[in-house]
C-alpha cells in the first residue's frame, strides 16, 4: 500500500443531522439525517438539481447550511472554515491550479499545513496514481484522465477523514470512465478513507459504492446496498431512476402467509409482503424487465405459481446478448421485457400473441399514490408522450 503519511487518529464516521439548505424560497436540501460509516464508499445518486452537490459542498464547508449540523466522529465541524476540516474534495472538472505544475498541485495541501519535507510523500502519491513521470508538467498539458488522477492525488495526500468526489468522472469519455471507476475503487480499498461520491450516473454509483443513497428534491428516497436498492425499490422514483421498471397500479384483495395479493386489470398478482412498501390498499405492482419471461401464447407451458399477463409484441430489438421486447397489453400499456438469448426457439416475433410471466418473489409493491413517471428520463418521456403512454394503467 502506498500510504505515505502516518495516519493520525482513526478514520471517523460522518454524520449529517437535520441538514438543510435553502436558497431564497427554494429548499435544495431538506432536513437530511444520514450517517456514513468510516471507510465506506458511499454514493449520493440523483438527477441534477436534487441537492446532492449542495450536500457535498456543505460537508466541504463551501456552503453554509441554513439549519442542521455536520459531525465527523464526535466533532461538530458545521462552523469550521473549509481549511479547518479533515475533509478534501475532488472537484467537478478538477479545479487544478493552472499556474502550478503537477508536483506543486499535489504538494499544495501539505505546504499549507506547514509540512517541510514534501518531496517523498508527493512522489509516492504520484506513483499511486501512476503519474510519476508527469511531475513537472502543467495541468494544461495533461489529458482528462490524467488531470482527474492528479485531482484525486492532490486530495488524498492529505489523509482526510472523508474524501468528497463531485461528479469526478463526468468530463471523461465512456471507456475512460469505466477504467477510472475501477481505478478509484482500487485506490479507495488501498487507502481505506471514507469516499463520498456524488453522481447522476446510476451505473457508476452501483459499480463503485458499497452504499447508495438515491436523492430527489432535497431528500433521500432510499438508501442501501446497490443490490438491495435495485432489487427492492421502495418508491416509483427509485424504480425508474435506477434501471427501468414495469409498473401496474392495482388494489389489494388479500394478505396471507407473507404474501400480498393484488388485483389489476382483471388479473391477480402476488408479491411477498416484505417487498411491499405500503400498508394501504392501493398498491402499484412493479417488476424489472429482465425478470420477465416472454413466450408465444400457444407454447407457454406451465405457468402456475407465476404472475401472468397477456399481450402482443409491438417491438423487438436484438442486441446480441439479449433481445428487448415491447409487449402491449389489452388496455394499451406497453411492458418492457429483456430476454437473454438462451435458445433460438424462445424468440418471439413482432405481432405474436404472447404471455409474459415472472416469479412473484421478483415483484415489488409501491404506494398506490406514486407518480408513475417519477425519475424517468424527461426526454424519453417526451418521446413516448407522442405515442401511447407506456406505463399508465
Amino acid at each position: 500500500m502506498a500510504r505515505t503519511q502516518v495516519v493520525t487518529g482513526q478514520v471517523e464516521d460522518l454524520h449529517l443531522v437535520g441538514l438543510t439548505k435553502r436558497f431564497g424560497t427554494m429548499t435544495a436540501v431538506d432536513a437530511l439525517d444520514l450517517t456514513i460509516p468510516a471507510g465506506s464508499f458511499f454514493a449520493l445518486l440523483g438527477p441534477s438539481g436534487c441537492g446532492k452537490t449542495t450536500t457535498l459542498r456543505m460537508v466541504a464547508g463551501l456552503e453554509d447550511p441554513t439549519e442542521g449540523a455536520i459531525l465527523i466522529g464526535e466533532q461538530d465541524v458545521t462552523q469550521l472554515r473549509p481549511y479547518q476540516r479533515p475533509v478534501n474534495t475532488v472537484f467537478q472538472s478538477y479545479a487544478l491550479f493552472p499556474h502550478l505544475d503537477i508536483f506543486e498541485n499535489v504538494a499544495f495541501g501539505l505546504r499549507r499545513r506547514g509540512i517541510k519535507d514534501v518531496k517523498k510523500p508527493v512522489e509516492d502519491m504520484l506513483e499511486l496514481v501512476e503519474l510519476g513521470a508527469m511531475a513537472r508538467r502543467k495541468p494544461g498539458q495533461l489529458s482528462g484522465g490524467q488531470q482527474q488522477r492528479v485531482a484525486v492525488a492532490r486530495a488524498l495526500i492529505n489523509q482526510p477523514d472523508v474524501l468528497l468526489l463531485d461528479e469526478p468522472l463526468g468530463a471523461l469519455d465512456l471507456k475512460l470512465r469505466r477504467q477510472m471507476q475501477i481505478e478509484l475503487k482500487r485506490i479507495q480499498t488501498e487507502v481505506g478513507i471514507t469516499f463520498v461520491h456524488v453522481t447522476h450516473d446510476q451505473e457508476e454509483a452501483m459499480t463503485m459504492a458499497d452504499t447508495v443513497a438515491v436523492m430527489n428534491n432535497g431528500r433521500i428516497e432510499q438508501m442501501g446496498s446497490p443490490v438491495d436498492i435495485y432489487e427492492n425499490p421502495r418508491t416509483a422514483f427509485v424504480a425508474n431512476f435506477l434501471g427501468q421498471s414495469n409498473l401496474l397500479p392495482g388494489q389489494v384483495v388479500g394478505r396471507e402467509d407473507g404474501v400480498t395479493v393484488i388485483s389489476a386489470h382483471n388479473a391477480t398478482f402476488r408479491i411477498p409482503t416484505a417487498r411491499v412498501a405500503t400498508d394501504g390498499d392501493s398498491v402499484v405492482v412493479g417488476v424489472r424487465p429482465e425478470k420477465v419471461t416472454v413466450r408465444a401464447k400457444d407454447r407457454a407451458g406451465d405457468l402456475s405459481g407465476r404472475n401472468v399477463l397477456e399481450g402482443v409484441v409491438t417491438d423487438a430489438s436484438f442486441t446480441g446478448l439479449s433481445t428487448q421486447y415491447l409487449v402491449r397489453t389489452a388496455w394499451g400499456q406497453e411492458l418492457q421485457v429483456f430476454s437473454q438469448n438462451l435458445s433460438a426457439d424462445d424468440i418471439v416475433r413482432l405481432g405474436d400473441d404472447v404471455v409474459v410471466s415472472w416469479d412473484p418473489i421478483h415483484s415489488f409493491g409501491l404506494d398506490g399514490a406514486s407518480d408513475l413517471h417519477a425519475g424517468m428520463d424527461k426526454e424519453l418521456l417526451a418521446l413516448q408522450s407522442g405515442d401511447e403512454p407506456a406505463q399508465v394503467g
Binding site: V17, T35, A69, L71, E74
Partner: protein
C-alpha cells in the same frame, strides 16, 4: 457510534457572527479608497462645474470683473445658439471617423483572429506598438504626411481625387487623424470578440449559405457584435471630445466643440460658458451612448 449532538450547532454561533459581520463590510473597505478618489476628483468637480455653468458676471457685460453664483439657464441657451455648428461637426466627424476606424480595424482583427496562426501574438503587438509613440508626435507626423507638397497629396491630386486639391486643413485630414489615433480602441475589442467565435461556425455558414458575403452578414458579424459595440463606443467617446486633431490637422473652419471649450476655458476665460458647453457635451455624449447600448442590446460596458 458517537451520539449525535444537535445542540453543538450553536456552540460557535457568536464567533461566526463576528466573522460574518467583518466579511459583510469587506466590499466597502475595498471600494472606499478608489471610489473616494473618484468622488472627490470626479464627482465633486462635475457638480462644481455644474454650479459654475449657472454663474452670472458680477458686472453686466464685463466678464473680467469675475462671476457670482446665479441660476443663469440663459448660459445654456447661449451656448447652444452660439456653438451648435461645432457640436454638430463634432458628432459628425467623430461618427465618420468611428465608421472609418471600424472599416479599417475589422479586416485586421479578423485576419489576426482567424488567419494569423502562430503570428497572432506578433501581429497583436504590431497593432498596439505604434500607440506607444506619443499621441502628439503621431499627429504631427500626420501633418507631415498630409502636407500640400507630400507624395500622398500629390499622388491623390494627380488622380484628381481631392475636391480642394489638398488634404491638410480640411475635414478629411481631421477625420483621418481621429480614426488613426483611436484605432487600437477599436481593434482590440473586435479581436477579443472575433477570437471567441468558433471558426467551425463560419465554415458551417459557408457550407450552408455558399456566398462568403452572406456568411459574413448572417454569421460572423452578428457573433462579433459585442466587440463592434465596445469598439465603436471606445472610439466614439474620446473622439467627440478630442480637439488635438482638429487643432493640428484642420482649418479654422473645422473647429470641434473640444476646441471651443478649451479656448473658452483657458483663453477667453468665460468659465460659465465653458462649463455649460462641457455639460451639454457630456449630456449629449451620454445620451447617444445609452441609446446605442440599448439599441445594441448589450450592457457589458456599464
Amino acid at each position: 457510534m458517537p451520539a449525535v449532538v444537535p445542540s453543538a450547532a450553536t456552540a460557535h454561533g457568536s464567533d461566526e457572527a463576528t466573522v460574518r459581520r467583518s466579511r459583510r463590510s469587506t466590499p466597502y473597505l475595498l471600494l472606499a479608497p478608489g471610489l473616494g478618489w473618484l468622488a472627490v476628483f470626479f464627482v465633486v468637480p462635475l457638480f462644481a462645474s455644474l454650479a459654475t455653468s449657472l454663474q452670472v458676471p458680477l458686472v453686466e457685460g464685463d466678464p473680467d470683473q469675475g462671476y457670482t453664483q446665479g441660476f443663469a439657464v440663459q448660459n445654456y441657451v447661449n451656448a447652444i445658439t452660439e456653438y451648435w455648428p461645432q457640436f454638430l461637426k463634432s458628432f459628425l466627424y467623430a461618427g465618420i471617423a468611428t465608421l472609418l476606424a471600424l472599416c479599417i480595424a475589422y479586416p485586421l482583427a479578423y485576419f489576426i483572429a482567424f488567419h494569423a496562426g502562430k503570428w497572432r501574438n506578433i501581429m497583436l503587438i504590431l497593432v498596439v506598438a505604434p500607440f506607444f509613440c506619443s499621441f502628439l508626435i503621431r499627429t504631427y507626423a500626420w501633418k507631415t504626411i498630409l502636407a500640400d507638397q507630400s507624395p500622398v497629396t500629390q499622388f491623390l491630386n494627380a488622380l484628381h481625387l481631392l475636391p480642394d486639391d489638398r488634404i491638410l486643413n480640411t475635414p478629411l485630414a481631421v477625420i483621418t487623424g481621429i480614426a488613426y489615433n483611436f484605432l487600437p480602441f477599436m481593434t482590440l475589442p473586435l479581436y477579443a470578440a472575433l477570437e471567441r467565435i468558433d471558426f467551425r461556425l463560419i465554415e458551417a455558414g459557408g457550407d450552408l449559405y455558399g456566398s462568403a458575403w452572406t456568411t459574413f452578414r448572417k454569421v460572423t458579424f452578428p457573433l462579433s457584435l459585442p466587440g463592434v459595440v465596445a469598439g465603436t463606443l471606445l472610439t466614439f467617446i474620446p473622439a467627440v471630445g478630442d480637439f488635438i486633431n482638429a487643432q493640428l490637422l484642420g482649418s479654422v473652419k473645422d473647429k470641434m466643440i473640444g476646441n471651443v471649450i478649451d479656448s473658452q476655458f483657458r483663453i477667453v476665460r468665460d468659465y460659465p460658458m465653458a462649463s455649460a458647453l462641457s455639460f451639454l457635451l457630456m449630456a449629449a455624449t451620454l445620451t447617444i451612448v445609452f441609446l446605442y447600448i440599448r439599441r445594441a442590446g448589450t450592457d457589458d460596458l456599464v
